[in-house]
């Protein structure tokens, strides 16, 4: 559903050029969960920003269902590390924010947003304000805000890394189920290798800057292993970890 072809990005800055991405090509299938890992500063956020249309690539092309992408499109939802909830809006109004911006706040869409809140255990908080919610709940509200616009492709940039470890484990389990249930196609950027193994169908490992694709790894667990937590307890988990660790080739 998404095809990335020979993508490159060179930043122009005062003190010279920074080559962030170099010749990145990959494809994502409908319903697939892709993890992207790479050393810090390699260009992971740059990649997502280009897919989301926030940044212009210096070269290469993007296609979504065979239509060429340029700029921000309706089909893509992008969730950032900070939940960026608006403190002066209620939870429901925060969730409706994306629809409001896109001028697609129809009664059906509003109902869909409420339905999402209901499904993910936040309905009773809909008239509360963000400051009354815990970090994990806020992050879920931010996710629902992104899902409410019914994206075909979801981009997550370190979406859980601002949370403490326990909340994060519980939330990834939750989010994984939400996304599978909605059959969402997802690209998740993280520097947390275990997190990407626990959630992804496929992991793209990026090299140091300028980022190239070092390797693509298919993640397969036995049928009975369903949730991220169960994956973490499976023996294959450690094997995948070691493989990716070797590829990343981290030096201090």
């Amino acid at each position: 559903m998404l095809r990335v072809e020979h993508l490159s990005k060179i930043y122009q800055a005062h003190n010279g050029e920074v080559e962030a991405l170099s010749d990145i090509s990959f494809e994502v299938q409908e319903g697939e969960y892709i993890g992207v890992v790479g050393p810090s500063g390699s260009g992971k956020s740059t990649l997502l920003s280009i897919i989301a249309g926030l940044l212009q690539p210096s070269g290469g092309e993007l296609y979504i269902n065979e239509t060429k992408l340029s700029g921000i499109t309706e089909d893509i939802g992008y969730m950032l590390q900070s939940d960026s909830l608006l403190e002066w809006r209620t939870i429901l109004k925060n969730v409706l924010f994306g629809l409001e911006i896109r001028k697609t706040l129809t009664p059906e869409n509003a109902e869909y947003a409420e339905h999402l809140l209901n499904n993910y255990g936040l309905y009773e908080f809909k008239d509360k304000y963000p400051s009354q919610l815990s970090g994990g709940m806020r992050q879920r509200v931010a996710l629902i805000r992104t899902l409410a616009i019914r994206p075909k492709l979801l981009l997550l940039d370190e979406a859980f890394s601002a949370l403490d470890y326990q909340t994060r484990l519980a939330l990834t389990d939750d989010v994984y189920q939400i996304l599978k249930r909605e059959n969402m196609t997802t690209i998740m950027v993280t520097h947390d290798i275990p997190e990407s193994i626990s959630m992804s169908d496929r992991i793209i490992v990026l090299s140091n800057r300028p980022a190239t694709i070092k390797r693509t790894l298919k993640i397969e667990f036995p049928e009975e292993v369903k949730t991220p937590l169960q994956r973490r307890n499976n023996p294959k988990f450690g094997q995948y970890f070691n493989e990716i660790w070797r590829d990343l080739d981290v030096h201090l």
Binding site: A52, L54, L80, S84, L86, W88, I101, S131
Partner: protein, 269 residues
Amino acid sequence: MSTYNGISEARAAYLRKIKQRKTYVAVTQFTILIGLVVLWEVLARLKVIDAFIMSQPSRIVDTFVSMISNNLLMHIGVTALETIIGFLLGTIIGTLVAVILWWSDFISRVMEPFLVVLNSLPKIALGPVIIVWVGAGSQAIIVVALAISMVVTILEMLNGFINTDSEIIKMATTFGASRSQIFTKIVFPSNICTLFNSLKVNIGLSLVGVIAGEFLVSKAGLGYLIVYGGQVFQMDLVMCSVIILAVVAYLMYQGVAMLERYANRLMNL
């Protein structure tokens, strides 16, 4: 006290302590004020200080009483009105200019040195120019007040706008928000606090402008009374006007503070 039901002993003691402390502060403030007034009166009666030059509380009260039947309310009204118009116009125009400067990085860069100069220039110096341009009267006084509060508002508001959380703006951008949506839905609501801070500062600045303006041109207002009192060597009138001025300034500040609490409650801040 049914509201105290369900509150632990320690909690109740803690709340009591906070309340007690507040009372102590208020009582001390009141005592200092009364003490100073009494001291002033006593020193004047004992002729330690010259009441003709320093005035004296009892004479100020006498002046106040005689002025009430002598257009005092009109003078207060004139000053208050000029101040309110000046600071509202200064805040509104200043905020609008800040919006334009936020909108266009180019205009903002072009204007920067001019704003810096305007900001450090004492606007009172423009008084005579303003009088010549708009005529000697209330309009000149309002323009002086406006000029003083406007430039500060532009700088304050622009600074607030520019420092809006960039992550939130990025979030809105991912939904394809236009510049005007970003402003109305994020930048402006994020800066309600900045706006009220500007309003509070502007009351003071606007009063400075109005009093200075009244010194220059007026035939009415507290500034006029102060200058007049000085000229005819009636210190009681000067002191009385200054005290009334302080009360007016305090009331206006409280008015804005009340408005701010109301706005904050409305926005859940």
